[in-house]
């Protein structure tokens, strides 16, 4: 039976998945296949969750493409966003982050 997925991993090489609904801290994040990781904090709809431990300066890979570098180590199950990812192009430290 196909389970109800709340994340999607877009390419095999990705180290993050995208939330398809709001995921509460402690909730299991699962895709349509075998992937399962416990969310260690709230992951809002459309935001990214770390699928494995990511070290500082490691590329964040989504859809097989690098979309930024880790500012610091990111533990599995944590939210991956502007607070721990920086752009390799334009500065993304925008002060109105909510």
């Amino acid at each position: 039976m196909e389970r109800r997925a709340n994340i999607v991993k877009l390419a095999a090489a990705d180290n993050v998945a995208v939330a398809l609904s709001d995921i509460a801290a402690g909730e299991m994040a699962v895709d349509r296949a075998e992937l399962a990781v416990t969310a260690r904090e709230h992951i809002p709809l459309g935001h990214k969750i770390a699928l494995r431990p990511i070290v500082a300066e490691e590329p964040i890979v989504r859809f097989g493409m690098p979309v930024g570098l880790a500012r610091a180590a990111i533990a599995k199950g944590m939210l991956v966003h502007v607070h721990n990812v920086r752009s390799q192009y334009l500065d993304n430290e925008v002060d109105h982050y909510e």
Binding site: A5, G46, H47, M65, V67, Y89
Partner: protein
């Protein structure tokens, strides 16, 4: 019927191409609408032009214009392209009288295109009230004529379609944008001309785009266009990435780019356009939306509408606009179909949105199925049906100062 068209009809259920109709123009193009464009040539003439158009907006009067008083080759080019656009059947120009716009040249170009055109100079016509009265008399007569104009059959190969995203979120790149890409692939396979845009929102995708270019020279031009956008925005100190994107889950401009890029589908890139350039062949084109030369005149495109305006100036008869946060915009001259990336916003703004891509995230539909919905919607609009933004009376239009050099030979490698 072509083999390709028969194959498309066999593969896609509930697709009816038989009702597509176009208004034939002297230059060989066909419009899917037969509008009267009412154009003001400086902000000082805006009010009069708006009052002329207002009573006729549901009958096909479309308000466009340029606010600036100083000369601009770019704005002249865009307004010229708008007034000779396939969706336009007649034009009324409204001038104050002392602005620098070359109104005589514009009127002459429009007349040469075979369209009825009237130029009303407020200072010569006794002011606001008389210009509005005379303008409305012209509009009423022309709209009656436009309504009675004959149409001819229209094929997908005769469509030029652009796509734009505004208020992207973390799901845009995995739901509605790849669905647009699928619809674009289907259109291209039928011989249509399509375009995507916004080089500042493709930063990070330049090498992949180059690999899809039909010649190495075009590939190099695509890379250079993105490098120009990156340099321009660094100098400005403000990229095409902001609070709305971050609030909805995007972390960097390159992540936003990967999602925006999905709208382009998978077919080869055959050309690089500057605003107002007419594609010279069918297939997929990129539009270069950033100024040439040193940083001057401010942010290249002040909002989503100016970018859409530029694609319409390059001949798009309709636009597919995708959003995550929930845009409500429409467009003057070319109707907009709006698609949304998530079901939450679709439910909240369902009156404004034509296609829900959130069903992909919900596991109810595939990217291909939503792409087919978009194609059916394009066909419906080309068959006379109104989009949501059209039905709601949206006619956004924006034009600000920019500067461009003409496109080089590498931009049109196949002639």
């Amino acid at each position: 019927m072509s083999d390709g068209q028969a194959d498309l009809l066999a593969r896609i259920p509930r697709l009816d191409l038989s009702r597509m109709r176009g208004y034939p123009r002297q230059d060989g193009r066909k419009g899917i609408r037969n509008y009267l464009a009412v154009g003001y040539l400086v902000e000082c003439a805006h009010h009069v032009a708006r009052r002329i158009a207002e009573p006729f907006q549901e009958q096909g009067a479309q308000l466009i214009g340029f606010p600036g008083c100083y000369p601009s080759d770019y704005a002249h080019r865009i307004l010229e392209a708008m007034c000779t656009h396939p969706n336009v059947g007649a034009v009324l120009l409204v001038s104050l009288g002392c602005e620098e716009f070359r109104r005589g040249d514009l009127k002459e170009t429009i007349a040469r295109s075979g369209r009825p055109v009237e130029l009303m100079v407020i200072q010569d016509r006794g002011g606001t009230r008389t210009t509005i009265d005379e303008g409305r008399a012209f509009a009423a007569a022309e709209l009656a004529r436009l309504k009675a104009a004959p149409t001819v059959p229209l094929s997908l190969a005769e469509l030029t379609v652009g796509t734009k995203c505004g208020g992207s979120d973390g799901l845009s790149g995995i739901t509605i944008n790849p669905a647009v890409g699928h619809a674009f692939d289907l259109l291209i396979d039928q011989g249509a001309t399509v375009m995507f845009e916004e080089t500042p929102e493709l930063i990070g995708c330049e090498q992949h785009m180059a690999s899809r270019a039909v010649t190495p020279e075009l590939g190099a031009a695509l890379v250079a266009a993105v490098a120009k956008a990156d340099a321009y925005h660094r100098a400005l100190g403000h990229g095409s990435f902001g609070g709305g994107n971050i609030k909805h889950g995007l972390s960097t401009v390159e992540e936003k780019s990967v999602g925006a890029y999905a709208k382009s589908g998978s077919r080869p890139i055959v050309g690089l356009l500057k605003p107002g350039d007419r594609p010279r062949r069918p297939g997929l084109h990129l539009m270069d939306t950033v100024n040439d030369g040193p940083v001057r005149l401010g942010i290249p495109n002040i909002n989503d509408t100016q970018t859409v305006t530029e694609m319409v100036a390059s001949g798009c008869q309709l636009i597919v606009f995708t959003t995550g946060a929930g845009s409500v915009v429409g467009q003057a001259i070319a109707p907009i179909i709006k698609g949304v990336s998530n079901s939450r916003v679709f439910q909240r703004l369902s009156d404004d949105i034509d296609v829900n891509g959130g069903t992909i995230a919900d596991g109810q539909e595939t990217i291909q199925e939503v792409g087919e919905h978009i194609l059916r919607k394009i066909v419906a609009l080309a068959s006379g049906e109104q989009s949501r933004s059209e039905a709601l009376g949206h006619q956004e239009f924006a034009l600000a100062y920019k500067t461009y050099e003409p496109a080089g030979p590498a931009c049109f490698p196949l002639g």
